[in-house]
Symmetry: C2
Subunit: 499 residues, 2 copies
């Protein structure tokens, strides 16, 4: 076969595998948005069957041989070569898993998800514990399947962020946390800002309308996506022409809906901006989770909590809620939405204390996977560490260790990418601001198109071509530099709190 | 292997195939309810991949060998034997199709569906014509693949109703139509009833609330299903614990929403009542399309257009629409909802003229499949025959030959089951009324539970164990007897029109 024929055959096989994976993703989306309750067990089984099938296809020896053959062909274009080498990497990793293990994991994940839903309803960790323990057991097995150096948790970290290790993260957090603590103490010593205006009654339907308006203005393409309601906001895609986000509405707090909409839109713009022609191939996928998160955070925080942004949007928001916000001035609003305050819920945390949440979860996961603590110890560990690092204690499990969906999805090793995302976002945004010199003025006029165009050109269009570090270096001229993040925080809070 | 082991292996394989088929069904449901427009082509491809996969699994020679082996084991229980023999039948039929043909059909069906959506938007048959012609060509090929005796259309009729033939249908329609025409003429000669109260403005949200209320009262299980909005109402299921119905709302006509809700609920109660333990097996599926339709029609017409039913429900309906319906008396309402009047839209037709719609479509399909007319001839044929049989002419294609979704799904040979469904419904309902002697009194009090229990016991729980004819005979003591349907119409309209 000619190289072109070989490459087409590879593309065709990857397309089929993607069709099945995305079908499975739709079943999951549906499970978290519209599934009737009695269907939960069968849905889990249906998803498991599709996982098993796509795994079977993606570990087919013939595909392996094709990939090896292709990887030796020199006539491939650079991007084609990259697709092949990344696919070969994925293939080799997938070969480590038995189909039986994939099915078991999928079924256990599904059970654990429903246990989590039920546990939240009953506000009781013990309802979740048994299934979570079984899942952690599978995750431990997975570390052996994947293999690792030094710490077993590295195997899982590497799944979400290539090259990420306990060593690196320990070093990063131990460098960062003292600076964050110092800044937090300075802020705490100052007069506190008021954000009570966010905690009035905001009717559901009005919040929904506002959120949809905002998303639309931020250029989320509703012909290539939609928004729905779910227990926990998320972004999921079934192609770059079908990217779906979800949100949740708290009638007594405007923050949840507003910034979850902006956050998920950040993810979605990335997915909608990936090259459609690379469907099913690495170059049609996001670079990494941390870069994904850098996109959501950049919009949520660097843009969506900036003074310039709200200079334009506050008057619009006030039209939706004249009674509640008509008298709130821009500066009161800006300070309020950036209030720093240790709190219980990660997704509602400010940009500073957020990273303590991630750190606690990271510590906890590390210990669960290495086996030094067990599932049953989670609530105690959780509460103790929240007290220690943030000085707060959850009154119940729902606002404590049951708050996040990730474990119930089997995502252990995922949380550090949230912090990395913030760090990358700060570095990227500071670079963008130097490149689009009137960006602030544009934001003040509600214009985000040139930012989006810049991101499309510099981030989205490459797909997985570059690793996080490579992409960061390519764009900003240097690898991840936490100092950029600290500078961003210092600058922001110095003005707000007059430090 | 022991027989029990063999049977378990068979069940397990069928479960896997069902998982894939139902995943594909979810992709289709999503396509007709929530899919963003740009995703249409890729969604078609994703569905085609799943069709191809389930076809591959269901035509696996090893499954065939297993089925043959099992069919010779005498130790199986009666129901197990039935499952195996029906599966072997399905298997043998599926073996006739090549995987390539299945994929082609799936892709063409998808294209045709989107062409239909677009053609309706533009109100132009010509937008639909090319894809429909390609689909008809595939359907002709399918008749050769399946094989047939006498008329090629028999091959397709048999797909939807085992044993159904042109010969039988020609005989049935030529027996029925003159009687219907005679009754229609008698009615036309009488003073006409007024149904203008149904054609006022009924706000969408209020109609939706009313529909949801009604469905709920009819014991649709919302923990095992849901209702959404789509272009064309339908029922679809992904297990008996997840049965979804859709409806559409016309602000200027209350009928569409109300009776589509009852109709689809009739389908859904059947699906929700199928034995969950038989998931993926014939005994977990509906007996046939005509029996399925008998269930929807029984609720829609025999129950849902009866005086007793509305004696209870009219006051409830009036609470939703006091302004529009507060002054409408029960008898005016009852007569109005049973008004006989030749019209353009099948789904809105009365119980008498409905069958002319089916007959015209049947004649048309027969000619399209035998090749005596072509896709391009459809609008002319359609309009001419509507004039001839019903004395009406559509002003445009949207209310003419573009009105139904079925062709765009590749469903040729389907429509006759609609008429058969009405006939079976009449026969079943007349039998039920003799068995639940106070059924009218129960309906007058809004009680439909004992009717539902009766249907569960006599229809739902058997799945595909009996053919339509067998089931009808088992229940009513005789095969389908069209006279029961004519008697039902005569009795009803004699009272309403004082014939």
């Amino acid at each position: 076969m000619t190289t072109a024929e070989l490459y087409n055959s590879y593309k065709e096989q990857m397309r089929r595998i993607a069709d099945i994976k995305y079908a499975s993703a739709l079943l999951q989306w549906d499970q978290e948005t519209y599934l009737p309750s009695k269907a939960a067990p069968i849905r889990g089984q249906q998803i498991a069957t599709l996982s098993e099938l796509s795994h079977q296809l993606f570990t087919d020896e013939k595909l392996g041989a094709l990939l090896k053959e292709l990887s030796e062909r020199k006539e491939l274009h650079e991007d084609e070569q990259k697709n092949v080498s990344l696919t070969l990497e994925d293939y080799s990793k997938n070969k480590k898993y038995s189909t039986e293990f994939v099915r078991k994991m999928s079924e256990q994940t599904n059970k654990t998800f429903h246990a989590w839903i039920e546990a939240r309803k009953q506000d009781s960790f013990s309802v979740f514990e048994k299934d979570l323990a079984a899942l952690i057991e599978l995750k431990k097995q997975e570390t052996d399947i994947l293999g690792y150096e030094k710490h077993c948790y590295n195997a899982l970290l590497n799944e979400f962020e290539k090259g990420c290790t306990v060593e690196l993260l320990d070093k990063t957090f131990s460098g960062l946390l003292p600076s964050l603590k110092e800044l937090l103490d300075k802020i705490t010593a100052k007069e506190q800002v008021d954000n009570s205006f966010l905690k009035q009654n905001f009717p559901k339907q009005d919040q929904w309308s506002w959120g949809m308006h905002l998303i639309n203005k931020l250029n989320f393409d509703f012909n290539a996506g939609r928004q729905d309601i779910s227990e926990h906001p998320f972004t999921i895609n079934f192609s770059s022409t079908d990217v779906r986000i979800t949100t949740r509405v708290d009638e007594n707090n405007l923050s949840n809906m507003t910034w979850s909409c902006i956050h998920e839109t950040g993810h979605a713009l990335y997915e909608q901006g990936l090259p459609e022609t690379e469907y099913g191939l690495p170059l049609g996928e996001a670079a990494s989770l941390s870069i994904h998160e850098s996109q959501s955070r950049l919009w949520e925080n660097n843009v969506g909590r900036s003074l310039a942004f709200w200079r334009y949007y506050l008057p619009e928001l006030q039209q939706y809620f004249p009674k509640q916000l008509g008298n709130v001035s821009l500066h009161t609003f800006y300070k309020g939405i950036n209030k720093v305050e240790p709190s219980l819920i990660r997704t509602e945390a400010d940009e500073l204390t957020y990273h303590f949440h991630v750190f606690i979860r990271y510590e906890l996961e590390k210990k669960l996977i290495e086996g030094s603590i067990q599932a049953k110890d989670i609530p105690a560990f959780w509460n103790e560490h929240y007290q220690k690092y943030l000085g707060v204690s959850p009154a119940n499990d729902k606002t404590g260790c049951l708050q996040d969906i990730h474990w119930s999805h089997g995502s252990f090793g995922y949380f550090p990418t949230y912090s990395l995302g913030s760090f990358y976002a700060a570095q990227l945004f500071s670079f963008v601001k130097r490149n689009i010199v009137d960006l602030d003025t544009q934001l003040e006029h509600g214009k985000t198109e040139s930012l989006l165009t810049w991101l499309k050109k510099n981030v989205y269009r490459y797909g997985r071509k570059y690793t996080s570090e490579e992409l960061c270096t390519k764009i900003t001229g240097k690898p991840l530099d936490i100092k950029e993040f600290m500078d961003y925080l210092l600058q922001k809070y110095t003005k707000i709190y007059i430090l």
